[in-house]
């Protein structure tokens, strides 16, 4: 087991889902625990419950394409903002529910439910 630290969180994330990623491990820290970048390298990845894009943007440099879905429009707006700021181009974010995904069958190689289920 390893220990993952984050920055001080203050009031973030208690009430606003889009900001709750401040309370979570960093994307690369989580990815390392799951097996490292090889898990997503060259793959099509779906991040369900993506929030503000914490994980999707973190793994985007390794993946072919990353889709992020979240039911909260504010979270998706924050994710798009973060993607623009980071200059990441292989990520798409959309509002949606996990029960009705807008993708054709067999679209993805990896689906992430990070702190979602």
């Amino acid at each position: 087991m390893s220990t993952v630290a984050a920055n001080s969180v203050g009031d973030l994330g208690r009430h606003i889902p889009a900001l709750s990623s401040a309370l979570r491990p960093g994307a690369l820290d989580e990815l390392r625990e799951w097996g490292g970048p090889a898990l997503v390298r060259g793959k099509r990845v779906l991040d369900l419950g993506c929030g503000d894009g914490r994980f999707a943007l973190g793994v985007a440099p390794f993946a072919t394409r990353v889709d992020g879905i979240d039911p909260y429009p504010e979270a998706i707006a924050a994710a798009k903002r973060n993607a623009r700021r980071a200059g990441v181009r292989n990520v798409r974010f959309a509002t949606g529910a996990a029960q009705h995904l807008p993708h054709p069958d067999a679209t993805f190689d990896v689906v992430i439910l990070s702190w979602t289920l």
């Binding site: 220990t3 920055n7 208690r14 491990p25 529910a97 067999a106 702190w115």
Partner: protein, 151 residues
């Protein structure tokens, strides 16, 4: 939840990987004071009952889709995550407002010790568990002759 996992199976290519990661409510979290080297345990923080129920429901949903043959368990593990606070008061505020945890820690140090160190840095150390599941070809991907339909 089972509906959502069914959708995940549909959009995953056969052999694709589902990662389920979430705080491990079966393991207590700990409130700890940062020392120059290491930590001092100050208290134990339990998970709230609604969150325990949610986690159990998630476990049942995963077990169901594995039983139904949609997924195969590949690997699981656990790691620790630190949520940092700049004082004991900030940690207490977090506990009082955060839904995952019960609102008060069970302190393992006396009141005088808590007061003496109230302006030190603290963390909540909590367990995060993960599981990797492989999407299997299910009955709906097999035609009447028993051949696997290429997706």
């Amino acid at each position: 939840m089972v509906d959502a996992l069914g959708e995940v199976h549909r959009v995953l290519a056969p052999g694709g990987i589902l990662v389920d990661a979430r705080p491990d409510s079966r393991v207590p979290a700990y409130a700890k004071r940062r020392k120059p080297r290491g930590f001092q345990r100050f208290g134990v923080v339990k998970t709230s009952r609604p969150e325990l129920a949610n986690d159990r429901a998630s476990d049942r949903a995963i077990a169901h889709v594995v039983r139904e043959g949609l997924f195969k368990r590949r690997r699981r593990g656990r790691f620790w995550h630190l949520v940092p606070f700049s004082s004991l008061a900030e940690l207490r505020n977090y506990l009082s407002e955060h839904l995952r945890f019960v609102h008060r820690a069970d302190w393992v140090v006396d009141a005088a010790t808590r007061k003496r160190h109230s302006n030190d840095h603290f963390v909540i150390r909590r367990a995060v568990r993960y599981e990797l599941l492989e999407a299997l070809r299910s009955a709906r991907n097999i035609n009447k002759k028993g051949n696997v339909i290429q997706l």
